[in-house]
Amino acid sequence: MSHPALSIPAFAVPHAITPLLEVQDLQVHFGSKPAVRGISFTVHEGETLALVGESGSGKSMTALSVMGLLPDGGRASGTIRFAGRDTSTLSPAARRALRGGEIGMIFQEPMTSLNPVMTIGAQIVEALRQHQPLSRTAAKARALELIDLVRIPDPKRRFQDYPHQLSGGMRQRVMIAMAVACGPRLLIADEPTTALDVTIQAQVLELLDRLRRDLSMAVLLITHDLGVVGQWADRVAVMYAGRKVEEGDPSALFALPLHPYTQGLLRASPRLDDAQHYTQGPLTEIPGSIASAAGQDGCAFAPRCPQAVAACRAAVPSLRILESGRKVACPLAHQD
């Protein structure tokens, strides 16, 4: 008898099977300054995990650590496993094969993320030929398909365009085409829509979601936009000052945020279904700034937390798994 797991489709693979990406106790330091202070998460085949947090919470550094592209002076510790392999044990050549081949990445700034002196066609062809043994003509044909796949009209003409001839949204589509060119199993999207107009944001996110399904990729979506999370993520991890403070299914998390930081974030976001719209009254802000976490013992959010008690300042609260399967790093959080 064959194993029952083999007969079920990829998107329903149970969590017992090796996750695609497994990050364990990742820490990133710049000199003595910590940027990420021990984060663990997993991304499974075909799933979208959203990493949410404000600027400076360590989201981008987490993503760059997975790629092995930390800026100069950054040191990472902890383990990152991709498809069961520890990435720190890979040779530089094997890591390069992973980047762009099995893990694609798109960045926040489409205006500056393309080489200004090369046509977009040439750039996509380059990305393709880096990891696949394609002839020039075959690569060009595939590049035209990719331009079409990311819904850029008139691919033949756009192929010859330089990046400055395209709008921000179009450039982000080109970036996406390059990132998915070699059929990666994981796509890391670092704030993919932050620099775009609101009207374009939804289109780009929809494109990402469609590509995820068509190419059966997993997506690690990094964002500070809770609206994006609610609609596109399968699972959400909320980060604060380099640690994960809460994780769960987006609908449950939005309905009943458990960590005071998540509660604050949600109160600070305008919501249509709420009686409280920003035209009727000011949005609630979280007092203080993330910088107050520096050099602090205990919970990093304690200085800004309305519910903080003495115990919060004594020790870093560990991530508890509640009965519902949700995870939260706050001793006071409880599910009623």
Partner: protein, 318 residues
């Protein structure tokens, strides 16, 4: 007593002006339009809009043609005696630019000298560019101790007076086109290296370099394919001036008798004519004119390239 209402009337000069509101869109449009371009058409049309550059191109084309055709136009050794000495220009049809103190044809000398000057100018610049760009790219891209070591080396070269170093290098080797080019390249590479280092240092921090790394490109490929084309405009501008200064250096060496004695060069012709400067000034003046025109042409082209390729200047010329 004026009624109080007058002071409160609308349009009163005491009323503070409404706060200036600029639509957000106004900021965005500028961002998208001023993206740098380095398309070839842009350079060609910029040269066309710049008349002095056209003069430069014309002069350089003439000199190049003269150099290329000199074996056909003036067959035989230009150092051979072909007529009576001290023949003034335009005095004889056989020697349109006259003859020197030994009766050698000056026009033939200038034509063959163009070959030497251009060959050394180009090969010294090419060698200097390769050395300088390689060192500068490595220093700027790698940073750390590689950068420190290369930067110190550049500084050592720049503290030594370059012409003295050049004379020393030529004096210890057998003068030939190859050794002269190599010596000039050794003296000029630090300038290019500094420029390339600065460009690579700023470009390596750009988002598109991070994006290129995220696609799995190797460092070598990123340096050559991604960064170098973006760093090229200022290097191209410098190269045109480097050719001019290499020609001047070669002339100066030959003038002092340190060049290759077996070939005729503009510098050596001036050097040989300097004893007769008062009686037959044309012997020195004609090759001098050739040097001046060639260097002027290269500088004019350099200026135009700078205008065409420098994004700051391009923005200023509407």
């Amino acid at each position: 007593m004026p009624p109080k209402a007058i002071f409160a009337a609308p349009g009163d000069h005491h009323t503070p002006p409404p706060p200036e509101t600029r639509p957000l869109a106004a900021f965005r449009i500028e961002d998208t339009v001023s993206a740098p371009t380095a398309s070839r058409n842009g350079v060609v049309s910029a040269l066309r809009r710049h008349p002095p550059a056209l003069i430069g191109v014309a002069i350089l084309a003439g000199v190049t043609l003269l150099a290329l055709l000199s074996p056909l136009l003036f067959p035989g050794d230009p150092l051979a005696i072909t007529g009576e000495p001290f023949l003034w220009p335009f005095a004889s049809l056989a020697h349109p630019l006259g003859t020197d103190s030994l009766g050698r044809d000056i026009l033939a000398g200038v034509a063959h000298g163009a070959r030497v000057s251009l060959r050394i100018g180009l090969s010294a610049t090419a060698l200097g560019l390769v050395l300088g760009v390689a060192a500068g790219a490595l220093a700027g891209y790698k940073g750390g101790w590689t950068d420190a070591a290369i930067s110190r080396l550049i500084e050592i070269f720049q503290t030594v007076p370059s012409f003295v170093l050049l004379v020393v290098l030529v004096a210890i080797t057998q003068p030939s086109a190859g050794t002269l080019s190599a010596a000039i390249a050794i003296v000029t590479w630090p300038t290019v290296a500094r420029l390339a280092r600065a460009e690579f240092r700023s470009l390596r921090e750009k988002d598109f370099v991070l994006a290129a790394r995220s696609l799995g490109y190797s460092h070598t490929r990123i340096i050559i394919h991604e960064i170098l084309p973006n760093a090229l405009p200022p290097i191209v501008v410098t190269a045109s001036v480097m050719v001019a200064s290499a020609i001047l250096m070669e002339s100066a060496l030959s003038f002092m008798g340190l060049g290759d004695p077996n070939v005729v060069s503009w510098g050596s012709m001036i050097g040989q004519g300097r004893e007769y400067l008062r009686s037959a000034w044309y012997i020195s003046a004609l090759p001098g004119l050739a040097i001046m025109l060639t260097v002027l042409a290269l500088n004019l082209i350099g200026d135009a390239l700078n205008e065409a390729l420098n994004p700051r200047k391009r923005g200023g010329r509407a």
